[in-house]
Every structure is written in C-alpha cells, then in structure tokens.
C-alpha cells in the first residue's frame, strides 16, 4: 500500500511536469492537441494527488505503525476523526494536504473553464502546473510522508520495522475545531493560487478585455472567504484551547495568515476601480501577485523556524526551497509586468478627494500600511539581526499601536466609501446620506461617555460602529422603500428583492456589517479582567458579577489521557447559576499536558475559567478566571461575513425590464444617487457592469 501512495505521488509530479512543458509547447506551437493533452495532464495531477492522500489516510485509519508518519503523528487509541486530522498535523502530511487542496482548486478551475477562454486557459494551466511542480517536488523528495520505518542489517538489506503504538497526535490539536480549521485556512492559502494564475495568465497572454479581472475577482472571493473562516477558527481554537484568555497574540504564525487576507481585501476593493473606471490596473495585478507570494511566505514562516515564534520551536530544512520558490515567483511576476506594462495603462485619473475613487485609494493605502506593519513586525527579528547584529523582536504593543487606528479608519471608510458617488460627490449628497448616521453616532458616543465609558479608542469605535451600521441599514431601507412603493410589497420582501437584484452590492454591505460586529467584539477586549487565586474546596473567587465556589477536585482517566478536574459552582447575584469544569489533561501517548478551559459564553461576556495546576510551594490548586466582554460577537460577526460573501457570489436575479423606472432613471444625474439607481433594477450604469461581472 505504501508503494501505491508513493507512486501516485511520483506520477502526479510527472503529470505536472507534462502539463507545464506540454502547455508551454502548446502555447508556442498553437497545437490544439498539445494544449488539450496538457490540460488533461493537469486534471490527472489532481486525481493522482487525491489517490496518494487517500493512501496516507488509509494507513492512519488502519494504525499502520510501520509508516514513519503514522507512528509519529497518531496512536491506536485516537478516535477516527483525530486520525483523520493527523493527516495534516505534521510537516510531511500538511505539505501533501497543501498539494491536495491546490489540486482540488486547480481541478475546478480547469474543468469549469474547459470550454471557455481558449486563449487564456492554456496559460492558466501552465502556471498552476508550475506551482504544483514545486509542491510535488517537496512531497516526493524533500518531505515525503511515505517513509517506511526500517533499518539495515549487517549485510545492508533493509528490514521493515514496526513500533507497537504511535507517538500520538499533539494534544493541542485534539480539539474538534482542529479537524476543520487547517483545511479552511489551507483552502484560503491554496485558493489564492487560482486568481494569481488567471492574473498572470492574462498579463502573459495579453488577454484582451476585462473578462479576466472578473474571473480573478470571483476566485479571490472564494479564497478570501475560506481564509476568513480559517483565521477566525484559528483564533477561536487559540481562545478555547491555549488557555491564556485571548484569541490573538500577533504571533508570527497568526500574522502569516493575516497578511494575504489583508492584500486580498485590498484587491477586492480596488478591483472595482478597474471595473468601473479603468484605473489602478498595475496596482491590482500586483495586489494579486503579492497575495499569492504572501501565501507562500506564510507557509514558509510556519515551517522554516526563521522567526522565533513562541508557537514554533522546531526548525526544519525546507526553508531554502521556499525562499528559492519565492524568488522565482517574484522574478516571473516582475518580468511579466515589465514586458507587458503597456497592457495595463490606466484610462482615468482621480477627479476629487470626496469621491468613491479616493475612498478606495485611502482604503488601499491603509490596508497596505497595515500589511506592511504586520510584515515588518513579524520579520523584525530577522531584519534587525541582519542590519544591527542584534536579534530584536517586537510584541503586541507595536502591532496594536499601529493597527488599532488603521482598523478605526477602515471602519470609517466602510461607512463612508460605498455612499460616495464616483468621480465627485456633492455637498447635498453628503448631507442626504450621512446627516442622521453622524448625529446618532455622536449622540451615542456622548451618552456612553456620560455613563462612564471613557477609554478613547473604544469610544471612537462605538461612535463609528453606530454610524456605519446606520448607513448600511439606511441603504437597505431606502432601496427597499423605492421597490415597495413601486411593487406594493412590504418592506422586507422589497429588501430581499433589492438584495437579490444586486447581490454584489448588498452582499458587500452584509460583509461590512459582519466586520463591524467583529470589530465591536474585538473592542470588548479593552475591558477584559482576570483574577488568579489559590483555592481549596469551599473557597470562592469573585470576578465581575460572578463568584466561583470550589466544590470538588477529582481525577478521570481513559486510554487517551488522564485528567485532573475542578468542579466549580458559579453564583450570580447570590444565586447558583451553573457548574463549570476546567480541566488539565495528561496525554498518555505524548506525555504532554493540556489545559481544557471551561467557558460560559453569552452575548455580553464570556466567563473563562482555567485550572492552572498545582502550586508546588503550597500544594494548592490554582484557578485563573477571566471575564472577557463581547467575545461572542467576533464569532457571530464571522458568520455574518461568510453569509454576506456567499450572497455576493450569487448571480443577480434578472427582472423583466419595465419602462417606467427607466424613464425615471434618466432624470437621475449620472453617479448621483446610486441607491436609487441600484434599487431600480438592472438598467443602471452600475448594474450593467455588475451583470457582466456575474456571468463568469
């Protein structure tokens, strides 16, 4: 069986090389047969990688401990779903998993477009195959998951060895979310390969028209959505498992996942400048390129140990491969851009500071500033060692100082940007769109200040969140009102109709609203409290409105781990409210201890209790309780963001063209009231380009 997986992987590399070389030959010679065979080779790669993944998974599920990877990352007492997760818990397996997800994306990208874009797809196939060759080379020759345990005897003949039981899955990964978090994040990381391939293909092939930018945007949205889910699941995992009361620590590995997300977010905004106004073409192409390179950099940072993360102690030898690959990508991108830079000439210029264009420019400017700051902070130990000889790291204060104002400015733009008209916005338009939201926002800020809510950033965040939420809801309301007056439907049906007619615009608003909810949740951390206390049975600990009474300490053992547990009765306002059971587990196979946090979560606050272990001086158990306000909003906001992204990817509903609203539209000044135009159906300037975007 190990032979099967091994050869499937080897054949996948051969097929990828064929797809690459044959594809280039096909493009040069314009031989349709060659192009077609290269494409089929590309599809075959995906099938072969899937087979080798299936083979490795089979070993894991059947406890084949003669395989080095299985022996190191699994053990027989592990439940089947964690044996499944063991697939990506080690370096070799996770790189194979990377290849597999990339292949899955590649399969869909190639298969769905097999009859479309005959001038573009051969290039796309070649670029994807190029990326696959890199990862499959690693899979086959550098970090193969199919090593068999064995030793040579005196005559030099290899004998298979087999260990009785495996070393076990890292207990920190034995958590339900770890079964879905890595696939999600990897879907994000690998997914950005597809927009990269399309953008580079269009540039290399000088593909006429703007079609490619729509395709690139769609695939970026797919990858962006997975990346968002992956990051939030990772944050939730850190919160629920690591037991330090927080969810984000600006650790290099966390930052690595944020970087491509930031540039992709910037791209999803600035791409509209290109679609609507023919501006920023070079910028957009470079954003797509950078996103992909940051994905590779992120994968590299998580493995190479170049940045001394508290998370990643281990170093590995594959760093050089990634650096080499990054340099190749950079050279290819730069060459492609330099050779074809006239292809990306801009059609328009910035007209006014108070316009949609300029809000996008500012949005991109500060997103890039955030990306740069996070990248700089993450790599600072490396740079400082190069330039000064001293290895210096920067901590959360650095990242927070820079990124909090950026986040607040972004929230502000989220409210303002979508309501500004293209080219130039009149004073009248500003007043109409923003007067009430601004008044109510500031009023709520004053009210909060009076009630003792005095911290500067949270106060600003509150004002902005109220302001933005109101602008979003008023957009829905005003659009829906127009439809409901015309069709005689109630306002909710009309709002639904409105959304379905321009899913991209209104889905975008939903995403914005979700981001606001997330930011509100993050702001809650400004009010975190925590108490740590040595406790015996019968003692209590007070935090916020809660008091925690220790009822019992006990032990619980099973095959996989043994645990020590505290039973806490939680009182609120003198009444018994609930029981909590924070726990510490010692995993048998790996001999690693893990904290199981007990969290009581409500919309307003989380009560988060950790059993920190026994103080060796006094032999008394220590309980650490945290009160974290609004954390749930972050996860809930994430759900809204995903729903909004899904909505924005739906095709617009076509409605029969009614003459009357068209007549009314003509009287609307171009670029004047976008809400009106969008509400009126597909015959606005805006909606026409939306429709062309939805047809990819």
């Amino acid at each position: 069986m190990d032979i099967f997986g091994y050869y499937a992987l080897l054949l996948a590399l051969v097929a990828a090389v064929y797809a690459f070389v044959g594809g280039i030959a096909g493009i040069v010679t314009r031989q349709q047969l060659l192009i077609k065979s290269a494409r089929n080779a590309g599809l075959a790669v995906c099938v072969l990688v899937a087979l080798s993944v299936a083979s490795l998974e089979y070993f894991l599920q059947t406890d084949n401990f003669s395989m080095a990877y299985v022996a190191e990352h699994s053990n027989s007492a592990l439940p089947w779903y964690y044996k499944f997760a063991a697939l990506w818990s080690g370096q070799e397996g996770s790189l194979l998993w990377w290849s597999f997800l990339l292949s899955t994306f590649a399969f869909f990208a190639i298969f769905l477009n097999r009859k479309k874009h005959p001038e573009l797809m051969p290039y796309v196939g070649v670029i994807i195959a190029g990326v696959q060759i890199f990862f499959l080379t690693l899979n086959n020759f550098v970090a193969s998951p199919f090593h068999v345990l064995g030793a040579a005897d005196a005559t030099g003949v290899m004998h298979m060895a087999r260990v009785a039981d495996g070393g076990g899955l890292n207990p920190l990964l034995q958590y339900p979310e770890m079964v879905i978090h890595p696939p999600m994040l990897y879907l994000g990381y690998t997914g950005f390969t597809i927009p990269f391939a399309f953008a580079l293909a269009a540039l290399l092939g000088r593909y006429p028209g703007e079609k490619w930018i729509h395709i690139t945007r769609r695939w970026t949205m797919v990858a962006w959505m997975f990346q968002t889910v992956g990051i939030l699941l990772g944050a939730h995992w850190a919160y629920a498992v690591l037991g330090w009361g927080g969810y984000w620590e600006w650790d290099p590995v966390e930052n690595a996942s944020l970087l491509p997300w930031i540039t992709a977010t910037a791209f999803l905004h600035s791409v509209m400048m290109q679609e609507k106004r023919g501006m920023m073409k070079v910028w957009n192409v470079w954003l797509v390129f950078s996103t992909f390179m940051l994905c590779i950099l992120g994968t590299f940072l998580t493995r190479a140990g170049i940045v001394n993360s508290v998370h990643a102690f281990a170093e590995s030898s594959i760093g050089g491969w990634f650096v080499g690959f990054l340099i190749i990508i950079l050279l290819v991108c730069f060459g492609a851009w330099f050779k074809n830079r006239d292809y990306l000439r801009s059609d328009n210029q910035l007209d006014s500071l108070v316009s949609r264009e300029s809000s996008f420019l500012f949005n991109n400017l500060i997103l890039l500033a955030a990306c740069f700051a996070v990248l700089w902070g993450t790599l600072f130990p490396v740079f400082s060692e190069w330039f000064t000889g001293n290895k210096i790291s920067v901590g959360p204060p650095f990242f927070n100082k820079v990124n909090i104002p950026i986040a607040l400015f972004l929230i502000f733009l989220t409210g303002v940007g979508p309501l500004l008209a293209w080219r130039k916005t009149s004073l009248d338009g500003l007043r109409r769109n923003f007067a009430w939201p601004i008044v109510v926002g500031i009023a709520s800020g004053i009210a909060a200040f009076i009630f003792g809510f005095r911290q500067f950033y949270p106060l600003i965040c509150l004002i902005l969140s109220v302001f933005v939420t109101l602008t979003i809801f008023s957009e829905f309301y005003r659009g829906a009102r127009v439809i409901s007056q015309r069709d005689g439907t109630d306002i909710f049906t009309a709002a639904r109709e409105l959304t379905m007619r321009n899913t991209r615009r209104y889905g975008g608003y939903v995403v914005h609203f979700g981001m606001i909810v997330i930011f509100v949740g993050i702001t809650g951390s400004a009010f975190n409290q925590d108490v740590e206390k040595q406790m015996q049975v019968g003692q209590t600990l007070n935090i916020g409105p809660y008091s925690l009474l220790v009822q019992n300490f006990d032990q619980d053992n099973n095959d996989n781990y043994s645990s020590q547990r505290v039973t806490l009765e939680v009182f609120r306002d003198g009444k018994s409210a609930m029981m909590l059971y924070p726990e510490r587990r010692l995993y048998t196979a790996s001999q690693v201890t893990e904290t199981i946090v007990a969290v009581e979560s409500s919309a307003l606050r989380d009560l988060y209790v950790v059993y920190s272990g026994i103080n060796p001086d006094t032999n008394q158990p220590v309980v650490h309780a945290y009160l974290n306000p609004l954390v749930k909003w972050i996860w809930f906001g994430g759900v809204i963001v995903v729903l909004g992204t899904g909505l924005a990817m739906l095709p617009n509903r076509r409605t029969a063209i009614v003459l009357r609203p068209v007549e009314r539209l003509i009287t609307t000044p171009l670029g004047g009231n976008d809400t009106m135009a969008a509400a009126m159906g597909p015959i606005s300037r805006n909606a026409i380009s939306e429709r062309s975007g939805a047809n990819d």
Binding site: W88, V394, N400
Partner: protein, 185 residues
Amino acid sequence: MGEGPSPPDRQARPAASAVLECALLRDKARGVSVNARKKFVVGSFVIIATLVVLAYVGYTQSKTYYHTISEVATMHGSVLEQRMRVSGNVRDGSIQHVDGRVDFVLEEEGKTMPVSYSGTDPLPDTFKDGAQALVEGHLGSNGHFEAEQIQAKCASKYQATAPGVAPAPSPGQTMASPATPNSGS
C-alpha cells in the same frame, strides 16, 4: 509607498519628479482637478507619518532582545536594562522553590545564568530538570535574571509543526503572556 497607490497606474520612469510634473501638466491639459491629486498625496503623507510615529512608540515599548547566556555575561552599561529573551537548558537539580519564588540555573555551552521567577502563574509542566527553557524579563541588580515569563519544552522530541496558523505552541504557552492580557485588540 511614498506616492501612495495612485501613481502605480503609470510606469516607473527615471526621475520621480519628472513623472509628477508630467502628470500634472497632462492633467491640466485635460482640465482634471490637480487639487484632488495634491490633497490625496498630502492626506496619505499625514496618515503614513502618524502610523510611523505610532509604530515607533510601539516598538520602543515592546522591543525584546534575544541574547545568549554568554552575551548576557559580558554585557554592561545601559544595555543591561533591555528587556530580553534568553534560552538555555535547566541545570539538573537547580530548581528550588523559595518562599513564593522559583530559582534555577540556565546553562548553555558551558555558561550559566541564575534565574528567579516570582510570577503567580504556575510553571509549565514541561519545566523540569534538563528541559529547554526560554525566559523573558530583565537582568536584576544582583546578577539574577528576573523572569516574567517562562516557556519550556521537554528536552526530548518535540514536534512543533502544526499546520497553517496553528503550530503547536509549546505547552508552556498555556501559561504564557501574563504581560499581554489584552493583545486581542
């Protein structure tokens, strides 16, 4: 980043000022508002300058030097006040619990450094004789390193590469970061 995202639409030409001049002339010829571009450049400059100042403040507050034990031994003057991270192995039998404090000795390549930890968080379970430890804090006046955080991993095998964003943190991570309770924001 100097010129912000607006000029990348145009290709890099030899002299930046010539490019700007050229663009301004062309805009004038087209009757496009030169003002908008100027305002955007000024606005961008203000934003970037603010962020640079904030970044510098954050940097001075949180910079931590990595030093080896032998470097610490030869340090003198103001560098001694740096916040630093030192790693080494816990010397066998050196861990002592003295009235609420934990004293131990870190060693690396024959050099040793005495460390005191008086934090409230219990030490990680992996913190044992011979374990590899990473301490963060300041050098005290008595030559003891005063650790605010201690992370440790077993001297034996440690597989830290978890996928994606979730590399396996050292088990010490479970008690890490008393200094950064609000880092979520």
